[in-house]
Assembly symmetry: C2
Homo-oligomer: 254 residues x 2
């Protein structure tokens, strides 16, 4: 991972934003995918724009994208793209969806971008560097006790059978709960406004970009067993602004 | 209700926005109220600013405010104020909370403003007039079948015992569900991006402003029995962009 890779991630975010912007609260084609999630013309245009740039600029790197799949999957470096995380939010006209861009090296996310194009908010995280929001450093906030923690998750229906009860064991002991939000919750956590995000069923393209953003701001991300997140993870995700909260969360989840 | 009342509602929204803006994602004092909901310095500053204007401009009208209670409750005209609807969203830094301002005459909301100050989005509804978003007319969208309807609600924990099952009877038959959002969902419904919002436990200051906005855009609002919303309502709210959806919703709620 180099400075040029971070610049390229910014360039990808610019291209995705330009592709998506004309469709926000405007007519677009959409359909329902095999997994029952919606996809729009905007998702596809944005991913195509990013992939075209990557094919030119990093022809040897792999690409994993939500809409157009995987190429060069054995490459050591993988660009992982979710053109619109929170497609339902995008379709409904909420300005809290995001474009997610990650660089994964040897299975670990080392660069992450969360880009909210309507509010023009861009979080950039890179392994070993401080996370920025629109170029200014941000940090998570301290929160010593679960009872004081604000918890967020996209919705109860995203948990599988048995998982909702495990989530609720945390929720009951948390200070407050905020529903909806998709990737935007992790940006708010990185900026010190939310303490915990817990989700399940995420794909690599849903969470890879979040890890460098959250961890570069002083937080910690792991799966529901406390393991680091990477290409092999099963999609169960915890993000804590204060790493000291993780033990209390895992205890109640398990 | 006169044009001057609509101008005054705009003036109140400007004053509230000016009072709230400095506190967004910045430090503020907060506490938990008797009903366990949070209130911040921003809520109080915004309501105080609006009440000061009303005392000067409409000294004979009543005021019902979330934070500072009721004055002149027997007046025929009541200004109903929620300085920050979605206080939890505001505290978490989400740009989808809103200031709600209503004029209620003879128990019925006749003017409604939903103001989102970060995105600078202002919906204005007035009985018998077309609803506007930032000065441009908006309309709800047609949606003939519940199976195609996008449903939104702030969160499952806002429903009382037994109510969540009634809500889920609608949700199971709807096309999709979006969580979180508070008053912003009703603005998106008025602008044709969401089809249904169903909530319970709302106070007059939570829903009065929504009625003229939704109905002036072609939608319909009622309680869970199909009755019009007003000062005497019990806080169970349905909003439909397509009035033809109401029957299917009420059937499943009851």
């Amino acid at each position: 991972m180099t400075d040029a890779d971070i610049d390229l991630a910014r360039h990808l975010a610019d291209a995705a934003a330009a592709a998506i912007r004309p469709f926000f609260r405007a007519p677009f084609e959409m359909e329902t995918k095999a997994d029952a999630s919606p996809v729009t013309q905007a998702d596809r245009a944005a991913e195509a724009a990013m992939r075209a740039i990557l094919e030119l600029e990093r022809p040897d790197d792999g690409i994993v994208g939500e809409e157009y799949g995987t190429v060069r999957e054995s490459a050591a470096r993988q660009w992982v793209l979710d053109p619109i995380d929170g497609t339902r939010s995008f379709i409904a006209g909420r300005p809290i969806f995001g474009t997610l861009i990650a660089l994964v090296e040897a299975g670990r996310p080392v660069i992450g971008v969360i880009d909210q194009l309507i509010g023009r908010e861009r979080w950039i995280g890179a392994h070993g560097r401080p996370t920025t929001l629109n170029g200014r450093g941000v940090t998570t906030r301290r929160c010593a006790a679960l009872a004081n923690a604000t918890l967020a998750t996209t919705g109860p229906n995203y948990f599988g059978p048995g998982e909702l009860a495990r989530f609720e064991a945390v929720q009951r002991n948390a200070g407050g709960i905020l529903w909806g939000g998709d990737c935007y919750n992790y940006g708010l956590l990185a900026a010190g406004h939310i303490d915990l995000v817990i989700e399940s069923g995420l794909k690599l393209y849903d969470f890879a970009a979040l890890v460098p953003v959250v961890e570069g701001a002083g937080g910690r991300m792991c799966d529901w067993q406390g393991q680091p997140l990477g290409a092999e993870s099963d999609g169960h995700v915890v993000a804590a602004g204060d790493p000291g909260l993780i033990d209390a969360v895992l205890e109640r989840l398990n």
